[in-house]
């Protein structure tokens, strides 16, 4: 963290501006190069604690993208730099509240947040409440990763934009892919016992019933999140159920442990997942998971579609050899937000929100994506990719393994109806 920031925070809260300035001038020399005030964007995700690696990767990508596309090219809005302000919410709803107040205190009005739907919905509620009570001081939530459908359906908010496909959209694609596989006659669903796990379970059951009524759901299991030492007992049940495939929404250590236990038991069936790559997972699965683990995600994996996209990955890798571009949607989100700023020549969240509605934008991957105005949900192409080491130009965790896209669905085919009835603020 930069020292000038640190000092202004300390002294800013002490109401001793003179002292702060006199002490702070030492550092200002090195830090204030441009005369214009930067555009400050908050990045709120876990930066310490158990889930920190995901949050830190996201932060790195966002910072890199801001420098890569804008700051190195003279900034935005006529020469203003983008400054990313990290806020550590430890992936806890309570801490999110605290950090939100810090954001308000620091005059931050655009918050990027992605991890955990529980956090996202807390933040969305908090922001709605805050914006209602403090007109002219509104805050915008840029959700780049939380996939609980409810955020753009029943609980949709004018101040919330989602730049990732939600779970039902992803499952729609994933079940299409599964349905196309004639060998699969039975399916085992296992997931963490919380809202996303339940969404995966309910939706999979419903969709498979529609698409392939002959596929039998031979198991539908929930386990407590982050508390299972050993998944072998669960795998025993999977084996004895005779399932032809497993689908899970697990993430983090629960994902790795489950996959490892399935592989160790000698069970040779495909595993369909959401979060089984990067942040050490790809490296840990390694050879044993090859050609067996498939993920549904937005955009495409290897081969990357355009040279611009490839170049971005290469340049990122040079700057951060130990990280990967895990979530290109962060880049899309930033680019769209900046486009909205440029279009309105403003950093006012209300103006940006209006400009984002129904925006169509061409990503560096060359595809056109659409932010639907009625529920603030992004639509873009979705893919199913496999964990392998063949044909992997850009690997994950420097392991030689990575994702290769097997199945792609264009944006138009991913569109689902929404039950959102948005309360729009009046100005």
């Amino acid at each position: 963290m930069k020292n000038s920031q640190l000092l202004t925070k300390i002294f800013g809260s002490c109401r001793k501006p003179l002292l702060a300035i006199s002490l702070g001038c030492v550092f200002i020399i090195s830090n204030t190069s441009s005369a214009q005030e930067p555009v400050r964007i908050a990045f709120m995700d876990p930066l310490s604690g158990t889930f920190a690696s995901i949050g830190n990767t996201g932060k790195t990508i966002l910072e890199f993208a801001a420098d890569y596309f804008y700051n190195s090219k003279g900034g935005i809005l006529g020469g203003r730099m983008i400054e990313i302000v990290p806020l550590d919410n430890k992936q806890s709803p309570t801490e999110t509240q605290l950090q939100f107040r810090r954001a308000i205190s620091d005059d931050l009005h655009i918050i990027f947040q992605g991890n955990s739907s529980a956090v996202a919905s807390t933040l969305s509620q908090t922001i709605s409440r805050h914006n209602r009570r403090n007109p002219e001081q509104e805050v915008l939530q840029i959700n780049y990763s939380a996939v609980d459908p409810i955020l753009t359906e029943d609980n949709c908010s004018f101040w919330h934009f989602r730049f990732d496909a939600h779970a039902n959209m992803k499952l729609d694609i994933l079940t299409d892919f599964i349905a196309a596989d004639e060998d699969i006659k039975s399916m085992y669903i296992i997931g963490q016992d919380y809202s996303f796990g339940q969404v995966v379970s309910d939706t999979t059951t419903r969709l498979l019933n529609e698409k392939r009524p002959d596929i039998e759901i031979v198991g539908n299991e929930f386990h407590p999140i982050g508390q299972v030492k050993d998944f072998t007992p669960y795998v025993t049940k999977i084996v004895s159920s005779g399932a032809d495939a497993v689908i899970t929404g697990n993430f983090g250590a629960d994902m790795v442990s489950l996959a490892r236990s399935i592989i160790d038991s000698g069970l040779d069936i495909p595993i369909y997942t959401f979060y089984a790559a990067y942040d050490g997972i790809t490296a840990t699965l390694g050879e044993s998971g090859k050609d067996r683990i498939r993920l549904v995600h937005n955009g495409v994996a290897n081969p990357l579609p355009t040279e611009a996209r490839k170049q971005f990955n290469r340049d990122f890798k040079i700057a951060h050899p130990n990280s990967d571009v895990t979530q290109p949607r962060i880049v899309n989100a930033l680019q769209m937000v900046v486009t909205a700023m440029e279009k309105t020549q403003s950093t006012d969240p209300y103006a940006i929100a209006l400009a984002l509605e129904d925006m169509r934008f061409t990503t560096m991957g060359g595809e056109e994506i659409w932010m639907r105005g009625e529920d603030h949900q992004i639509f873009q192409q979705l893919s199913v990719s496999v964990h392998t080491d063949e044909g992997v130009e850009f690997d994950a965790d420097n392991s030689g393994f990575g994702l290769v896209t097997e199945y792609q669905v264009p944006m138009e085919e991913t569109i689902l109806e929404s039950s959102c009835q948005m309360r729009r603020p009046r100005r």
Partner: protein, 316 residues
């Protein structure tokens, strides 16, 4: 169904034996020094990480031998330079110390090894199915885990009952005061036992790391369960700890393997509720869902009805 039962038993035993490796050290420490070592599972985690690092350069087997030693030495140092100092301030202080130590170890591990899951693999030598029963493999590595654990149990039993040191330790468990009056160097014994106990925990970590995933949360997952075992087993009783370990290992394994839940019970009673019922969560609860909390339920029940634990010989 039969293979589920067999594998549930095997899995339960693997977990149970693993838990015993942790619980045996903890129960020795707890009984002799009165310290409920909250950081015990953290030493288990340290074992896994050290072994992972060693295995990168020297292979799995070197890690298996040296990682527990490193952990044991570290544990002995913690006793010598930390706990012994805190000892003067009483048991609560000691407990709070280990509580903070657990926290610090977890943070340090994230500092040195990062927060990612580590790619700690089973050795190739053991990378084959030991046997296949009704379509399911039982990996040789799990067999190896069981062998090591049983070996440790037998070794521990032998040392504690047959050797001179063992007899002093046994005496110190049940009558700590008397032993110090007899002129034995109690601080040295304490340090030794603490080192031994943490080394055992480290060994458990080494062999569990590859199958249970090496990640910074692995201590938390196991931490309080080991506590529960020691208390259920009874203060000062290694046999109690052994029985409680297996009991909890099997209990959890069977609970997950079973498919019964409240709906079955309600069917049996001929009662049914609508989905909208306010207590719907209760009526749809099933055993696998609550498997991880069963040990705590058992703990509370045991403590209420038999505060000395299953095999405990003395109260505090």
């Amino acid at each position: 169904m039969l293979e589920v039962l067999i594998f549930a038993t095997l899995n339960g035993l693997v977990t149970g034996f693993l838990l015993f490796m942790l619980a045996s050290g903890l129960t020795l420490i707890f009984s002799m020094m009165g310290v409920l070592n909250f950081a015990h599972a953290s030493f288990y985690m340290l074992g896994a990480y050290f072994a992972y690092s060693l295995s990168l350069y020297f292979g799995f087997w070197t890690g298996l031998i040296f990682a527990p030693i490193v952990v044991g030495v570290l544990g002995a140092m913690v006793e010598r330079y930390g706990l012994r100092r805190v000892h003067q301030s009483g048991h609560v202080a000691e407990l709070v110390f280990t509580f903070g130590l657990a926290f610090l170890i977890e943070e340090s591990i994230q500092f040195f090894w990062g927060r990612d899951t580590k790619n700690y693999q089973t050795p190739e030598l053991l990378d084959f199915p030991l046997f296949t029963l009704l379509g399911q493999e039982f990996s040789a590595y799990r067999g190896f885990m069981m062998t090591i654990s049983i070996g440790i149990f037998i070794g521990l039993y032998y040392v504690l009952t047959k050797s001179r040191v063992g007899i002093i330790i046994q005496a110190a468990i049940t009558h700590p005061q008397t032993v110090s009056n007899l002129g034995h160097n109690v601080p040295l014994i304490f340090m030794g036992v603490f080192g031994m106990g943490t080394a055992l925990a480290g060994l458990a970590g080494v062999i569990a790391g590859p199958v249970l995933t090496t990640f910074p949360g692995m201590a938390t997952v196991l931490g309080s369960i080991v506590f529960v075992i020691v208390v259920i087993g009874g203060l000062g009783s290694l046999a109690g700890a052994f029985i409680a370990s297996l009991l909890i290992g099997l209990l959890q394994s069977y609970a997950i393997a079973s498919d019964v839940g409240m709906p079955d019970l309600l069917n049996l009673l001929g009662v049914s509720f609508e989905r909208g019922h306010p207590l719907n969560d209760l009526w749809t609860m099933n055993l696998p869902q609550i498997a991880p909390v069963l040990p705590y339920l058992l703990l509370v029940l045991v403590l209420i009805f038999r505060p000395t634990g299953l095999m405990g010989k003395r109260e505090e």
